[in-house]
């Protein structure tokens, strides 16, 4: 293998698995260290820079970072990254004075954002400090989009939403509430906007067209619409027996909300076995803790209506053959079952829908009636019109919408200056040694063996008394202190300088997880088999050095299970190994080189 090119900005970024997995590339180890030092506001600001809504995401993020966390590979469970984010948000002090100043003199460019969801809010957050005038149009009476309408308040309190959305709106965003955009033609023709960002989400819940759907319509609800009505207090009750069709995260919100509206018997009906569920494992656990019954292998057949009122549903009982790789190879119907219900909520997915965008504006739609959007610039086929969030590529989650907002803001900034939207600052990485003395490092390198802390919950007796009692209490101080030490500091990189190495083997002998090997070079696949411990996780790179000066062998590091304890560097007599903190610079609109010089800035 050739020596690893560690100057490529992705190399060390990939070693920080959580940050690499995060769509917004939040600097997780850095904010966890700041929490450990009690610097909560600093930790909050590190978060806010990339994910903009730390308090919200610290409660409801889909946490792609946690399955990626290296801790999950050396021990059973990953660091509770998401809930530590909430710790920073819960304990922060005043932060508004740390936000970038908003220029009094505007740059003369106007941007319209459609929908006041996370994507549009991030566009405003990134462009307001650059002097843009941003207007957000929102159909409902309150901003927040899906964060407010689809996530029940027992998971995400109103106060948290108001604070973090308020921080953006107070930058001087013109927020037009209750203002539904009915025609893109009209907006483009008369709005006087230099750019339009469509962040209108995926507001159309999927329908289940089975016999009895029309007859029982009064008691059959579309999940996301039902949650919306609940969020705005339009509904107050539900029947005693409720069936939820579908087993995604929306289904979990529907079943838990039903319990709080007075339902006694809530069943979530799944077509397939548990390993195929779409809902996150922790959302399933939370629902099951509240005695929601999840019934597997039931495929909806028809709605049963008796005397003009919904009486229940009939399901096919399914059986599946699953092969060794976990795929379904065959399915059979083995019977039929009737399950009584007073209400049925359909939570089988959602789609984006654009009846308000005329099809002759130069905004092309593909065969699924989804707009053609460039995945990196977010520009549609009509220059100056951008899409982000669920509106762009279908339903994802909040953290994706945030990153779409950041990327779209860069494009809008380029577009408004007459620069190509594809001309974007590439990501960069900085390295800085953490060496403080003979055996001292500017980070806590001792491995803590504690297990993942459990989130304390409001008791089952208390939590149903009101619909907006937040179930999760947040980590206590003691829990946070323990949990932060579980982070392995993957951003403190092991950096090797081949020309200093005297091949004494000290690093190899001390490494607790057998990451290091000195061996004759070879092809990657073959080299992986003759390391000190076999490197079977091919998604994790091998770090291969230049030839060593005594024997011409190479130093190979398997990044897979390195716990960044720094013992290799402590044992190295020549400082060929060093522990260096990598700081990934993931550019936003304000970082674009041309940021300060708009052509006609007044």
């Amino acid at each position: 293998m050739n020596p690893t090119d560690t100057s490529h900005p992705d190399y060390f970024h990939k070693v920080v698995d959580c940050q690499w997995a995060c769509p917004a590339h939040t600097d997780v180890p850095e904010y966890i260290r700041l929490i450990a030092q009690g610097r909560f506001t600093d930790a909050y600001m590190v978060n806010r820079k990339s994910n903009v809504f730390p308090g919200i995401l610290g409660r409801v993020c889909d946490r792609p970072c946690e399955p990626a966390c290296r801790r999950g590979r050396v021990e059973k469970k990953p660091v509770a990254i998401c809930r530590l984010k909430r710790v920073a948000a819960d304990h922060k002090d005043e932060f508004l004075d740390r936000l970038p100043p908003i220029p009094q003199v505007k740059n003369g460019r106007k941007v319209a954002c459609i929908g006041a969801g996370p994507a549009s809010l991030v566009v405003a957050n990134d462009l307001m400090p650059l002097g843009y005038e941003v207007t957000i149009f929102e159909q409902f009476a309150e901003p927040g989009g899906l964060m407010r309408t689809n996530i029940p308040s027992f998971r995400l309190p109103q106060g948290t939403l108001d604070e973090e959305i308020g921080a953006i709106v107070d930058m001087g965003v013109e927020l037009k509430l209750g203002h539904r955009i009915e025609s893109m033609r009209q907006l483009l023709g008369q709005g006087g906007f230099d750019a339009v960002f469509v962040g209108s989400g995926a507001p159309k819940g999927k329908e289940l067209d089975l016999p009895g759907r029309q007859e029982g319509a009064a008691n059959i609800h579309i999940g996301i619409t039902w949650l919306e009505s609940l969020a705005f207090d339009h509904i107050k009750s539900i029947g005693e027996k409720v069936l939820i069709i579908g087993v995604g995260n929306t289904a979990m919100d529907c079943c838990r909300s039903s319990l709080r509206l007075g339902a006694k018997d809530v069943k979530v009906m799944a077509r397939k076995p548990r390993q195929f569920f779409k809902a996150s494992e922790w959302e399933l656990e939370d629902a099951e803790e509240e005695n929601v019954h999840i019934v597997v292998n039931r495929s909806p057949k028809n709605f049963v209506v008796e005397g003009g009122r919904l009486a229940g549903m009939t399901f096919d009982v399914m059986e599946y053959d699953i092969d060794a790789r976990g795929r379904i190879t065959a399915e059979r119907v083995t019977g039929e079952e009737f399950i009584p219900a007073d209400d049925v909520i359909l939570a089988i997915g959602q789609e984006n829908a654009f009846p308000w965008i005329e099809r002759d504006l130069g905004i092309e739609f593909d065969k699924w009636d989804v707009p053609r959007v460039d995945p990196s610039t977010h520009e549609s086929t009509r220059p100056g019109v951008f899409f982000g969030g669920d509106a762009a590529f279908g339903p994802k989650n909040i953290i994706w919408a945030v990153e779409h907002g950041h990327q779209a803001a860069i494009s809008i900034h380029q577009h408004c200056q007459g620069l190509p939207v594809t001309e974007r600052l590439p990501p960069g990485v900085n390295l800085q040694s953490r060496k403080m003395g003979m055996h001292e490092w500017a980070y806590s390198n001792e491995y803590s063996a504690v297990e993942r802390r459990l989130m304390p919950h409001v008791s089952l007796k208390e939590r149903f008394k009101k619909i907006n009692i937040e179930v999760e209490l947040g980590f206590t101080a003691e829990q946070a202190v323990e949990e932060v030490q579980r982070c392995l500091n993957c951003d403190v990189q092991t950096v090797f300088e081949a020309k200093l190495c005297i091949e004494c083997d000290a690093c190899i002998d001390i490494c607790p997880v057998d990451c290091l090997t000195m061996t004759p070079n070879g092809e990657e696949a073959e080299l992986r088999t003759r390391l000190k411990a076999p490197a079977r996780n091919v998604t994790q790179a091998l770090y291969v050095s230049a030839p060593l000066k005594h024997t011409g062998r190479v130093m190979v590091k398997d990044e897979d299970v390195c716990v960044h304890c720094g013992l290799c560097a402590e044992r190295c007599p020549t400082a060929a190994w060093d522990m260096q903190k990598s700081h990934v610079k993931w550019p936003h609109a304000a970082d674009q080189p041309s940021a300060a010089r708009l052509p006609d800035q007044k």
């Binding site: 001792e446 491995y447 000290a506 001390i510 607790p512 044992r571 190295c572 007599p573």
Partner: protein, 352 residues
């Protein structure tokens, strides 16, 4: 040395030996030697070797005297027995322990000071008695613990860190051991685990006194230009002449070796050491030829490594020679171990 404990976690796919143990189970306390010390690599090689032959940790006895090298017995097989003796007197302790319990693996770890200066007499007599033990000399040519004075193994012309040049001739433990009739004499280098680990395994299985002289650079006092025991010098001047592959009992010798080149030597428990000659002019089975080739190469400034001499000596092993009981003393019935005053009377009567 290091300030944090070594994390108690391991690579998830770390291999296990016949006892179900991983290498980590053969570790000891964290080393307090200088970073980059050759001794730490030797410790790692001992760990690897003990793991590889599936030695029961409770059957390992670690013995040492005084010096940097002698500290290292604390750093491997924490489940074993240990004795840290007076300077240079480790062979006596090993002798006594071995006489009492012949069933254990005896690993003596010593240095060039402990074995070639203060303990030279002890070293020689342990060879004469053919004690069944593995004797490792962690040889760095200086007294590291007292700030780097030349030791008895320093070569003529080698330069100390402060510039002094050594004028006195060295004692070579390999030549000395062959001269005194040792049956297992090897030399290796701390920076070459591929060679060292099988040597340690073969030495542990050898019935009789096995000595390995291991060049182990002192990274603090003897790793500079002008030193003949630095990492760089050793790598440039060593030549492996005999490779030894340890073949455990269960495994068949694979046909990797050409006929005539490979010489399998059966150890007393049935396991084998396969010797491969890497140089034409060195014959490991003949003590006189081996002695001469080592000496000739030394005169040219070349250090031969490998299992330089191997010859079965179980007939003259201490227990065989003294017709001791087959089992350890602690397993003998009390009546046999202490036959009583009448038996003593009988013995004494023979001398009256």
């Amino acid at each position: 040395m290091t300030f944090i404990p070594k994390p108690k976690i391991a690579h998830p796919s770390l291999p296990r030996n016949d006892l179900g143990l991983t290498r980590r189970d053969y570790e000891g306390a964290l080393s307090t030697l200088c970073a980059g010390c050759g001794h730490d690599s030797i410790t790692a090689a001992i760990i690897e070797a003990c793991w590889g032959i599936s030695a029961r940790p409770e059957n390992v006895v670690k013995l040492s005297g005084i010096g940097c090298s002698s500290k290292t017995t604390a750093y491997f097989v924490s489940g074993g027995h240990g004795f840290n003796s007076v300077h240079g007197r480790m062979p006596s302790i090993a002798m006594g322990a071995n006489a009492a319990n012949r069933d254990l693996h005896y690993i003596g770890v010593s240095g060039d000071g402990d074995s070639l200066s203060i303990g030279l007499g002890q070293f020689c007599h342990a060879i004469r008695r053919n004690v069944n033990m593995l004797y490792l000399i962690e040889n760095n040519g200086v007294y590291g613990l007292t700030k780097g004075q030349f030791s008895a193994s320093a070569d003529i012309g080698t330069r100390a860190k402060k510039g002094d040049v050594n004028q006195q001739p060295p004692i070579d433990p390999v030549l000395l051991a062959m001269n005194l009739g040792a049956g297992f004499v090897a030399r290796s280098f701390s920076g070459d685990k591929a060679q060292l680990v099988p040597l340690i395994q073969a030495g542990l299985k050898y019935a009789g006194f096995a000595v390995i002289d291991i060049i182990s650079p002192c990274v603090t006092f003897n790793d500079h230009e002008g030193s003949t025991k630095s990492y760089a010098y050793t790598r440039e001047h060593t030549e492996a002449v005999v490779a030894a592959d340890f073949v455990p009992l269960q495994r068949e010798i694979t046909a990797d070796y050409g006929a005539g080149e490979a010489l399998p030597v059966v150890m007393h428990d049935g396991s084998r050491v396969v010797l491969r000659k890497l140089a034409e002019d060195h014959d490991p089975s003949d003590p006189h030829m081996a002695y001469h080739s080592v000496q000739q190469h030394l005169a040219r400034g070349e250090i031969l490594t490998g299992l330089l001499h191997l010859r079965p000596t179980e007939k003259t092993e201490f227990h065989a020679l003294n017709r001791t009981p087959d089992q350890p003393l602690n397993q003998l019935p009390y009546a046999k171990l202490a036959p009583g005053s009448k038996a003593l009377e009988k013995i004494l009567a023979r001398y009256r």
